[in-house]
């Protein structure tokens, strides 16, 4: 049986090669094989709710700023009927979303979502901070203020040895619980710690230390309601520093710079803004990059780090699909599950990524049920196959739109996620189910439909597992191993689990002794 041997040899070669590279990377190069907990990608969501009273409304909110060290990808806006504009302002890279609508009425909701990489105290500050490294004009208006400032700063200067200690002393004085009289006269009446931060910024700039106020969130854990906090970022003698007047965060994320409010609105009442944070994907790329840079050829060849971030995100998903396929092959060849269409469950499983499991299952079931009803109705009209498929597909799109609109009042999550639900697959599934329905029975069709959904859920769980995602993205050589396993399964000749049930009646019939021919299978 040469094809048998051939397949086996190829399979083992692939598995050995894949495992070899994998082990080389993980053992030799200390490449972590489970996601690193400290490098997390966070989902940030800004949720703005307000009442509109039939007059023009304008809502502005800051979006995460872009800079030479930071790119913002994967942004989603839920604007409802509002017009949306995004503007970029200032050297700091501040960005604003501006939503406008002329005659809104009733309660309204706006949402913004993005994913971001956390920052910590060693994250470099952008170059834009440097450009202002010269003493700035003093912003103080009155003579009294100017004099107070000069008195105070000259004391500080006298007491400090260099820029570093000057900054330290300044901050210490400004943020001490009891203020000296000079400082009390200088602080602007701003909410929270902004007054002191702004004063600190002015003082540092006047001494040639570039500084800015950053507003953002602390990322110490997942929050439904995150608070906006402000801190100071400055560069002293070429070193990037941050000063946090409130708390002592290890991870944080600045959203905008300066004295603005996160949300500003005209024409809206009962405004409420909620910022939520959810840790999710593990950004192994940051770890990988540091290792790939050291010139290891093997590492570089099997790594996606050179690709743009958006492409990387696509591969993150793409590379998990073979895992789902592997599972599907196993379920078919070893368990004997019947599904509607060979790879259909995997495609549905991918769609579940967008909707999350439960929503996806509900959505899928509703759409299939509606589509089947439509399909049976169309049966009466006696249409040709392809036009009929087209009608069902359009009907599915309409149903999806209807569901989205119905749901949009309460739970907007579906609105955003439904977009990639695979309509064509749904249509083919409906067609197949209806044929089974006619040729066999309704219960058989439902059984096969549920079977496919079960397989889809299993493959989804496997594909969305963060360990699987991490492993496949960082060790794409595992694809060779998966391919080898599929080759091996392709030569599996034993019974499927379902056949053990199917042939259960044939158990007690014969006994070995009575067999005239020996089993030559293996």
């Amino acid at each position: 049986m040469s094809s048998h041997l051939h397949a086996r040899l190829l399979a083992f070669a692939l598995i050995l090669l894949g495992m070899g590279i994998f082990l080389h990377k993980s053992v030799q190069n200390d490449y972590p094989i489970v996601p690193d907990q400290t490098r997390t990608i966070w989902n940030l969501e800004v949720y703005i709710e307000f009442a509109a009273g039939n007059r023009p409304v304008r809502v502005e909110t800051y979006l995460p700023a872009r800079s030479d060290v930071r790119d913002v990808v994967d942004e989603q806006f839920y604007s409802g009927p509002f017009g949306l504009r995004i503007v970029q302002e200032g050297v700091e890279g501040n960005r604003k979303a501006i939503w406008t609508y002329r005659y809104p009425d009733g309660p309204k909701v706006l949402r913004y979502r993005t994913t971001m990489m956390e920052e910590n105290r060693s994250t470099p500050l952008p170059d834009s901070l440097q450009s202002e490294g010269r003493p700035a004009d003093l912003p103080f208006q009155s003579n009294l203020q100017r004099q107070a400032f000069i008195v105070w700063i000259s004391t500080i200067r006298r007491q400090s040895a260099d820029n570093e200690s000057l900054v330290e002393l300044t901050l210490q004085e400004i943020f001490s619980p009891t203020l000296s009289d000079e400082l009390a006269a200088l602080i602007r009446p701003l909410p929270g710690s902004l007054g002191r931060l702004e004063l600190a910024r002015t003082v540092l700039e006047s001494q040639g230390v570039p500084a800015r106020i950053a507003n953002g969130v602390y990322l110490d854990d997942a929050r439904r309601r995150a608070e906006i906090v402000s801190w100071l970022e400055y560069r002293v003698d070429g070193r990037d520093r941050r000063y946090f007047p409130n708390g002592n965060p290890s991870k944080f994320f600045p959203i905008w710079y300066g004295l603005g409010e996160i949300v500003e609105a005209v024409g809206a009442s009962e405004m409420s803004t909620q910022i939520s944070l959810q840790p999710s994907r593990y950004a192994a790329s940051t770890i990988a990059r540091s290792q790939v840079d050291d010139g290891n050829f093997v590492l570089r060849m099997f790594s996606f780090d050179a690709l743009p971030l958006t492409t990387q995100l696509v591969y993150r998903v793409l590379l998990t699909i073979p895992v789902g396929i592997l599972l599907l092959v196993f379920l078919r060849q070893f368990i004997g599950l019947q599904t509607l269409g060979t790879f259909m469950p995997v495609l549905i499983g991918i769609a579940f990524r967008e909707t999350a499991l439960l929503t996806g299952l509900i959505l899928f079931s509703i759409l299939i049920a509606l589509g089947l009803a439509m399909r049976f109705y169309l049966e009466k009209l006696k249409l040709l196959l392809v036009p009929r498929l087209a009608v069902v597909l359009i009907f599915i799109v309409l149903s999806m739109a209807a569901i989205t609109i119905l749901m949009s009042d309460g739970e907007q999550r579906i609105g955003l996620s439904i977009s990639l639900f695979p309509m064509v697959i749904l249509t083919m599934t409906i067609e197949r189910m209806s044929i089974v329905w006619e040729e066999y029975s309704g219960s058989e069709a439902i059984k096969q439909g549920l079977g496919s959904l079960a397989v889809a859920s299993i493959t989804y769980l496997a594909m969305s597992n963060r360990y699987v995602e991490y492993l496949m993205f960082n060790f794409p050589e595992l694809l060779l191993v998966i391919m080898g396993l599929c080759l091996l399964m392709g030569r599996y000749m034993g019974m499927r689990l379902s056949e053990l049930r199917r042939f259960r009646e044939l158990i007690g019939i014969k006994d070995e002794a009575e067999f005239p021919f020996k089993d030559k299978a293996e």
Partner: protein, 322 residues
């Protein structure tokens, strides 16, 4: 018992689908030849050329243009069978038993009008029942009127005999009976009853339905065993010849018996099901191994039949003696 013990099943020589696919279908049926049996129009042509009797072909409809002659084709007093040329498992087959009040009567007793038949043919053409949804041809052939031999144990429709032919050697046979569940078709997936047939004598034995053993027909309650299949030798020869015309090493030949014309080859199957093991209450492997080990290339149809019978006798008489 919910699951069978896999080791016992192995020992009893029961073959699963994975093994059938790898050892029989993939090894013995070259892909390029599968077309000969997947497309019923080709099978029919080959059978006619080789002189294997089969239901008379009335016409083919392969495009809307041919459709104009459809009503003419349906005008047969004994009715017609309309099948997708590339169909399988009985899907998309419409059996018209004759005219009925300006329309047509179907095998299940329902009346349809011409428009319904036309729509069905249209669906066939658009590939609704063919593998992979490719456009298909509708094949219209004379309806087989089944000789009443198995009337006691069938319910509406046409019973057929399935003979498994391995490298030209008939090794196992079963009689497939339509039931109320199977809607006049004898396909086991649809709830037909499979009855083991003694390969040597053609006498029916016990049966199965929905993978479960049955001894009586579920609708007529008559005993399944002990009936002689007429034309048994002719059937074996037809099955063995099917190998000569297709060169496929693993075949299932479906044969029906017409009142007037005797046994007719209905279709050939390139990947026959393995439920026949349950109908015969015996694993396939014991029948398969001796044939795989033998060289059958020099044997003619008669010799292969004799070889098949020898194997069957050896296996099953050893069985009877125990």
């Amino acid at each position: 018992m919910i699951l069978g013990n896999p080791f016992k099943l192995r020992r009893n020589g029961v073959m699963g689908l994975n093994e059938r696919n790898l050892r029989l279908v993939a090894e013995l049926n070259p892909r390029g030849l599968m077309r000969l049996v997947n497309d019923k129009t080709i099978t029919k042509r080959l059978a006619i050329e080789a002189g294997i009797p089969n239901p008379e072909l009335i016409g083919l409809v392969s495009n809307p243009y041919d459709m104009r002659r459809l009503d003419q084709m349906l005008e047969r007093p004994n009715g017609v069978a309309i099948k997708p040329a590339n169909g399988s498992q009985g899907n998309g087959i419409m059996i018209i038993t004759g005219p009925m009040k300006g329309g047509y009567k179907l095998a299940n007793g329902r009346r349809v009008v011409f428009e319904d038949v036309r729509f069905h043919v249209m669906n066939i053409l658009s590939g609704m029942y063919s593998l992979g949804g490719l456009p298909d041809t509708a094949l219209i052939e004379e309806r087989v009127r089944f000789a009443g031999v198995f009337d006691e144990i069938s319910f509406k429709g046409v019973p057929d005999v399935r003979i498994i032919v391995l490298k030209g050697v008939p090794i196992l046979a079963m009689l497939r009976l339509p039931t109320a569940d199977s809607d006049g078709k004898a396909n086991l997936h649809k709830g037909g009853v499979g009855v083991g047939v003694d390969l040597v004598t053609g006498v029916t034995q016990l049966g199965m339905q929905y993978d479960q053993l049955v001894d009586f027909h579920p609708d007529t309650a008559n005993e399944l065993s002990g009936l002689q299949t007429p034309y048994w030798e002719d059937m074996l020869i037809m099955a063995a010849q099917a190998y000569d015309v297709t060169s496929l090493g693993f075949l299932g030949a479906d044969i029906v018996i017409d009142v007037d014309k005797g046994p007719l080859l209905l279709e050939l199957n390139g990947r026959p099901g393995i439920a026949i093991q349950i109908a015969n209450r015996f694993g396939l492997r014991a029948h398969v191994e001796p044939v795989l080990a033998a060289d059958t290339s020099k044997m003619d149809a008669k010799a292969r039949i004799a070889f098949g019978k020898d194997i069957y006798r050896l296996i099953h008489e050893g069985q009877a003696a125990a």
